[in-house]
């Protein structure tokens, strides 16, 4: 806007632009909408004119494409020979820049400004060549089609479906001293095309046909015209700035239309839309929500909504602003948005009302400053009749009359008492009716208070004034009292009404705030996405008095599913509406223009990062969906819900990331452990086997036996490890359930020992098993695995020759089996860790393969039986470790002693 100093300041800058142009050649561009409009022809014509003026004109490059009339124009003009450049075995001809600079003509013609030079030329682009010419004070005439303009590239592609590859930076066109638009109506151009007068490369013929459709040409022509106009506009602006002419600079318009609650607003929006289309300016439809908005009837509110819908359909931006004063709110908003024109309707108000309330339009015009105000008066006589007269609000309940009457009676009785018993001066008693009138007009409404105002003087005269029970007072004194009371009641009732309106407005706002607050409070407690969704649905149901649901996108973000409430039935129509809403990020369904036959209104739940889901609302009243207040409340709630959903989703993703990271690290530990356990025995096996193979002659018989023994031991170790590993996998995957059978402890233990007789050789194994032990319920094979592992461990961690004690006993119904070695003790703080998978005790300096899995497998098996296992340090001084397996009472069965 013109008030903006920054628009005036660039004066210095514009001088600079001008200065930089001094000492340069002048650039004239012949701009066309499409090939074939006759740019080259126009350029050559202009060149001839200049030559006739005595200017030294030379042709740098001109493509005549074999057109006879163009070819003819070449005659009489100096033609610069072209330079031959070979590239990829082809010879190309390009403009010979050096030759031209040497020749130094006053004016040179260079066709096709957007041309790309063959690789090997001095510059990549022709406009760079032209820049050099201009710098050398040579004037240049050139031609270009609008489709080459860089900034229009995407627009052109949209229009023509053809991607233009040779683009021209906008600044080149801007830097032109003169632009001549070479215009040809589309029909004419198409005719020329069909007559073969437009040069078209063979291979592009098909594409070109599409390009030359009337609609494309019209669009391109418009672009070219507009661009030229803009350029002229800019040049004018520059000129004005140079001459220090103060704004306004209405080169870019923005139009605002103020809408109201009547149907006239729709016409207004249409008119404004036409203005904006003509000026190619964006349109904003603005509604100012004053406190009285809340007093509007539903019909009026729906009208506002309809007008907004229309405005949106016409491509306008719709905005609602709260404010007390329409005029100042409109202007404030308009200034913020750099609006240049405001379109308002003419309100039909009587002159008296205008005088009393002031006309919005007049005030707007008076205060608008630089902004143009368009006042549209489109009300037909017929429409005028439709507008209901503003009525005084006589509507009230019976209750109001009764209250007023009671108040009147009370004061009447009071007056009677005062005058009869207390002899209060009658002249003062008239005032006693005033409170009744005030009360009535404040709490009830106008009509009762007017009735009281009538009754008061009469009552006073009849019941209180001397002589009693006679109307004796002169008429004018009645009239004076009467009119005073009437005036009071009218004033007060108006005041009261306004206060009520404001209170209502405040109450509505309060409700909105309250609703948002409760929603956010409700959701703050919920962390998991399902809880958040449930909280939103429950809360929205109660706030909106509607049935709400939330739909979330599936993993591919292609489809939606009902996420809450979970047991929801959803038919095809609803699905379509919700999906449309999701894909277009707009409301759809009931109450909208899209798929309105759906049962619900669907509303996108959006955050800054995008759409998170769809809110579906089912409400009984259609009106509610169209109500502006309802919509606004809904939007505010939806925004909050969207944030909460997004937050929950992010939290979920983060949690998943952490879990998968942990899983990942566990897997890598597992892998390295497994590979360690597999490899260690293999190292000695490979060394031993290769010794046997390759050093056969150097080894004696004893050596060979020893090596084979080592191999045997290592392979045994490997076998155990692998069988443990497989067992573990089976149990962990849950595919193996213990096959419960009744087992005698004694046979289980002796079986386990027998299985490991190789290992325990040289150890002193003691079995201490109580008599009459109950049987246990367990899987025999699995339990053998447990005790084999325990025996193996005991052997591994104690020296050969030491004791291994197996002890089985009964303690309070439970069967406890203990296996004790007298080797190395587990440190107290590691007693529990030994059961962790791949935990390996570093109790000895030597590597002990396989220990990483054995105990954790034992634990897994034992726990699959609902039994318990733990490690203990013996309380005597002999050291070692006790592993205790406890079978609870429900896993035991007493043996019935045979008689």
């Amino acid at each position: 806007m013109s008030d903006n100093p920054s628009d005036i300041r660039p004066v210095a800058e514009s001088f600079l632009t001008e200065a930089s142009k001094e000492g340069r050649g002048k650039l004239k561009i012949f701009l066309g909408a499409a090939p074939g409009v006759g740019k080259t022809y126009a350029m050559l014509q202009a060149a001839h004119e200049r030559r006739n003026e005595g200017v030294d004109v030379v042709i740098g490059v001109v493509e005549t494409h074999g057109r006879a009339e163009t070819q003819k124009l070449l005659e009489g003009l100096d033609l610069m020979p072209r330079k031959k450049i070979s590239y990829k075995n082809h010879e190309f001809e390009e403009m010979d820049l050096e030759a031209i600079l040497a020749r130094k003509p006053q004016l040179i013609l260079v066709d096709e400004l957007a041309h790309t030079n063959v690789p090997g030329s001095i510059h990549e682009k022709r406009y760079q060549d032209i820049e050099i010419l201009l710098q050398n004070q040579i004037d240049v005439y050139t031609t270009v089609n609008i489709q080459h303009l860089e900034s229009l590239n995407d627009v052109i592609q949209q229009i023509t479906k053809i991607k233009v590859r040779e683009t021209l930076p906008d600044h080149v066109l801007k830097s032109a001293d003169e632009i001549e638009l070479v215009d040809l109506p589309p029909k004419e151009l198409i005719r020329r095309l069909s007559e073969g007068k437009v040069y078209v490369k063979d291979q592009a013929r098909k594409a070109i046909r599409h390009f030359f459709s009337p609609s494309n040409l019209t669009a391109l022509r418009e672009l070219a015209l507009r661009h030229t106009a803009e350029q002229v506009d800019d040049q004018m602006l520059l000129l004005m700035q140079q001459q220090a002419i103060k704004g306004p600079w209405p080169t870019r318009d923005r139009i605002l239309v103020c809408i109201d609650d009547d149907s006239h607003s729709e016409d207004l929006v249409r008119t404004a839309s036409r203005i904006s289309a003509r000026r190619r300016a964006p349109l904003i439809a603005l509604y100012i929500e004053t406190p009285s908005h809340y007093m509007l009837s539903d019909r009026k509110k729906e009208q506002i909504y309809k007008t907004f819908q229309l405005a949106e359909n016409l491509g306008a931006e719709t905005v609602t602003v709260s404010g007390r004063d329409k005029v100042s709110s409109v202007l404030e908003y308009a200034r913020n948005r750099n609006v240049t024109q405001i379109v308002v309707g003419q309100k039909t108000r009587s002159r008296v009302m205008q005088f009393l309330k002031g006309s919005v339009t007049h005030n707007l015009i008076r205060k608008s400053g630089d902004i143009d105000i368009y006042v549209i008066n489109s009300l037909s006589a017929e429409e005028k009749e439709k507008i209901p007269r503003k009525k005084i609000d006589f509507s009230l309940s019976l209750y109001g009359y009764i209250r007023s009457l009671i108040a009147f009676l009370i004061v009447s009785i009071a007056a009677f008492i005062l005058s009869t018993f207390l002899n209060v001066d009658h002249d003062n008693l008239e005032l006693i009716f005033l409170p009744a009138v005030i009360y009535s007009s404040l709490t009830c409404s106008l009509l009762p208070s007017i009735i009281i105002s009538f009754l008061a003087p009469l009552t006073y005269d009849y019941f209180l004034g001397e002589p009693l029970f006679k109307l004796t007072m002169p008429l004018q004194s009645h009239f004076i009292i009467f009119s005073m009371l009437i005036a009071t009641s009218v004033l007060l009732s108006n005041l009261a009404k306004r206060a009520k309106t404001q209170a209502l407005s405040a109450e509505k706002k309060e409700q909105r705030t309250q609703a948002l607050y409760t929603l956010s409070k409700e959701m703050a407690g919920a962390i998991h996405i399902d809880d958040v969704l449930a909280a939103i649905v429950v809360k929205l149901d109660s706030i909106l008095n509607a049935e709400t649901m939330i739909l979330l996108p599936d993993e591919n973000k292609k489809d939606l599913r009902v996420a809450c409430p979970p047991e929801f039935e959803f038919d095809e129509k609803e699905h379509a509406a919700s999906l449309w809403s999701y894909e277009h990020e707009e409301m759809a369904g009931k109450g909208t223009d899209t798929l309105a036959s759906a049962e619900r209104l669907y509303m996108p739940l959006r955050t800054q990062r995008g759409i998170v889901g769809i809110l579906g609302i089912k409400t009984q009243e259609l009106i509610a969906l169209k109500d502006v207040d309802f919509r606004r409340l809904l939007e505010a709630l939806a925004a909050q819900a969207a944030l909460a959903i997004e937050r929950a989703k992010l939290a979920e993703e983060m949690e998943e990331a952490i879990i998968s990271k942990e899983r990942e690290s566990l897997r890598s530990i597992l892998l390295s452990s497994i590979s360690f356990d597999l490899k260690t025995p293999l190292i000695s096996v490979i060394a031993a086997v290769s010794s046997l193979r390759k050093l056969d002659k150097k080894l004696d018989k004893q050596n060979k036996t020893d090596l084979i023994e080592i191999i045997h031991q290592d392979i045994d170790k490997l076998t155990r490890f692998i069988s443990n590993l497989l067992e573990m996998i089976k149990i962990e995957s849950g595919s193996v359930i213990p096959k419960m059978e009744l087992i005698e402890i004694k046979s289980l233990l002796s079986h386990s020992l027998r299985k490991n007789r190789d290992l325990i050789e040289g150890y002193e194994v003691k079995e201490n098993i109580e008599n009459n032990l109950p049987l246990i319920k367990a899987d025999f094979t699995m339990m053998t695995h447990v005790f084999s592992n325990l025996i193996e461990n005991a052997v591994k961690y104690s020296a050969r020759g030491s004791e291994i004690i197996l002890h089985a006993k009964q303690v309070e119904g439970e069967v406890v089996v203990e296996l004790r070695d007298k080797g190395i003790s587990i440190p107290e703080d590691e007693l529990e860790k030994v059961f962790d998978k791949f935990y390996r005790l570093r109790l000895t300096e030597e590597k002990i393969a396989g220990t990483g899995l054995g105990l954790s497998l034992c634990k897994a098996i034992v726990e699959a039986h609902d039994a318990k296992i733990r490690a203990m340090i013996p309380d005597d001084a002999e050291g070692g470790t006790i592993i205790q397996v406890t079978f609870p009472a429900n896993l035991t069965r007493k043996i019935k002693m045979k008689a």
């Binding site: 490899k679 260690t680 025995p681 293999l682 190292i683 000695s684 096996v685 490979i686 060394a687 031993a688 290769s690 010794s691 390759k694 050093l695 150097k698 080894l699 004696d700 050596n703 020893d706 090596l707 080592i710 031991q713 290592d714 570093r842 300096e845 030597e846 590597k847």
Partner: protein, 233 residues
């Protein structure tokens, strides 16, 4: 080699099974074997037992093996052969930088192991003597005095850099040489060649000394470490 004198070999590894295998084999080859289970024992044995060669595992339970090497290197030039796991790439290089003589990756074939032992012993015993005038590796002869190289009796001409490379490789035949050592051997004081060029020179050298795939000598790449000249069998 003097048969009467037994070679004293110190094996440092916490894997009892492997120690047993190596002990059996080395005994059969007339070595005297000393065992150590950890770094502490290794350092102690190295100083008290006076071993001729030390076989040292790279992952010891009590201390870093590279520390064991630097500790021993403070007072002894005894050859050290490092046993490394596949995953211990960096430790391998570090141990060589700390002046271990060579390495072998577990699991290994016994003949490979014995080759390394041999190369380590040869190199250390020769260091005491004077450098020989002619180095023989397989069919390759390098006349150090006259800078004259023959392969199967045929003269091969080498550039200075190629010759320098061949000389250091052949005088340490069987033993790994790190990229750094090789670069140092072919660079002048002022001009340090980088790894890329080394690679190039090795390729050029290979073309000359291993003309067929069945050549008797070969330059083998030890990834990320360096090269080794070996005789093919």
């Amino acid at each position: 080699m003097n048969v009467a004198k037994k070679i004293r070999t110190l094996i440092v590894d916490d894997d009892a099974q492997l120690r047993k295998v190596l002990k059996i084999v080395l005994h059969a080859l007339n070595h005297e074997v000393i065992e150590a289970l950890n770094g502490k024992e290794a350092v102690e044995a190295a100083s008290t037992e006076n071993p001729d060669i030390i076989v040292l595992d790279l992952s010891l339970p009590d201390m870093e093996s590279v520390d064991v090497i630097s500790n021993i290197r403070e007072w002894s030039k005894v050859p050290i052969l490092v046993l490394s796991g596949e995953a211990e790439e960096n430790d391998k290089l570090e141990s060589l930088e700390k002046k271990a003589d060579d390495f072998i990756v577990k699991p290994f074939q016994i003949d490979e192991f014995l080759e390394r032992i041999k190369a380590c012993l040869k190199y250390s015993s020769r260091e005491a003597e004077e450098e020989p005038n002619v180095i023989k590796v397989g069919n390759l002869k390098v006349d150090v005095k006259n800078k004259h190289v023959t392969l199967d009796g045929n003269v091969i001409t080498l550039t200075n850099k190629q010759y320098d490379l061949l000389k250091i490789l052949s005088s340490h035949a069987g033993k790994v040489l790190t990229n750094k050592q090789l670069i140092r051997a072919i660079s002048s004081e002022t001009q340090q060649e980088d790894y890329f060029y080394l690679n190039n020179y090795i390729d050029q050298l290979r073309q000359k000394i291993e003309p067929t795939s069945e050549s008797s000598v070969r330059v083998i790449l030890e990834p990320n470490i360096g090269y080794r000249l070996v005789t093919a069998e």
